[in-house]
């Protein structure tokens, strides 16, 4: 149960929130002008990185507001939370935390508890 710092309500437990998938996927302005493939890309395709991920959250059981977060998917650490109206933070802000404490490889899972 991670703690999420809602920009409007403060720190609350994850159970109050709903994850809204990848952030910064913008709805095309003119859907009719797109090919099936281009439209499909918007509707169905999302990135799924290990490491830094820009995602949306909704404070469903609180203020019902949406906001964005940057989360390291390999450690579940939330690195930054920002409002929808804020600019997307540059990935270079987070580069240093790409690795989990055990220095896991960049892809794949694994549990490394022992310091090498």
């Amino acid at each position: 149960m991670i703690l999420i710092d809602c920009p409007y309500c403060g720190e609350r437990e994850q159970s109050e929130f709903t994850n809204g998938g990848e952030a910064h996927v913008i709805r095309p302005k003119n859907p009719e002008a797109l090919s099936d493939k281009e439209w499909g890309q918007y509707v169905f395709y999302r990135s799924n990185p290990k490491g830094i991920f820009y995602e949306r959250w909704n404070h469903t059981h609180g203020c019902r507001k949406w906001f964005n977060a940057v989360r390291d998917t390999s450690t579940d650490t939330i690195l930054k939370i920002y409002k929808l109206t804020d600019n997307r933070p540059d990935i270079s802000e987070f580069q240093s935390s790409l690795k989990s404490p055990s220095g896991e490889p960049a892809v794949g899972s694994g549990n490394f508890a022992v310091k090498k």
């Binding site: 409007y8 309500c9 403060g10 720190e11 609350r12 437990e13 159970s15 109050e16 059981h61 609180g62 203020c63 019902r64 507001k65």
Partner: protein, 174 residues
């Protein structure tokens, strides 16, 4: 007013309040329209409460306010206020009276008691007096208002019986 439970350290009453839920942008025009109908000013800071013996006016979120009437009012008058407010496109006012259940919790042990039903951090450094929060209590959506020596908790009326039973159950078990 109904007494739900009372012990050495926790007292819970159920009350009947009237309530209006407001949506708007909180800017000048919004405030002016409200000033015409309601004598107290809507708080401008998120989660803040302006209150006296008669009202709670709370800002639930950046575009949402709750107005609770703590003393008996003419319901007709409240509905008229809602109607007047809705004349403007800048505001959506919905009458929430009779659709919500209201509980007043006081006593020295109220935090520990409520923390059997919610993980919300009730410590005064995280939840100061004269602020409100929307959170899960007993697994349902509630609003909680911190009025110094007591909390007011509201939930949807349909959960009234369930919520009441959970309060009594926790009190009986501990």
């Amino acid at each position: 007013m109904t007494k739900i439970l009372s012990s050495d350290s926790v007292n819970i009453l159920q009350k009947d309040f009237l309530q209006v839920l407001l949506r708007g942008n909180g800017r000048d025009q919004f405030n002016q329209i409200i000033a015409k109908e309601i004598s107290i000013k809507p708080p401008s800071k998120n989660l803040e409460i302006s209150s006296d013996d008669k009202y709670i006016f709370a800002k639930n979120s950046f575009d949402q306010w709750s107005l609770l009437y703590l003393v008996e009012q003419d319901y007709k008058k409240i509905l008229k206020i809602v109607e007047n407010l809705n004349m403007s496109d800048e505001i959506l006012a919905s009458d929430y009276s009779y659709g919500q259940a209201y509980f007043e919790i006081s006593g020295n042990n109220k935090n520990e008691f409520l923390n059997k039903l919610t993980n919300f951090d009730l410590r005064s450094k995280k939840f100061p007096v004269s602020t409100m929060a929307q959170t899960l209590i007993a697994r349902i959506d509630c609003s909680i208002y911190n009025l110094k020596d007591k909390y007011i908790i509201t939930c949807n009326k349909s959960y009234e019986e369930y919520f009441k039973n959970r309060l009594i159950d926790i009190n009986n078990l501990s």
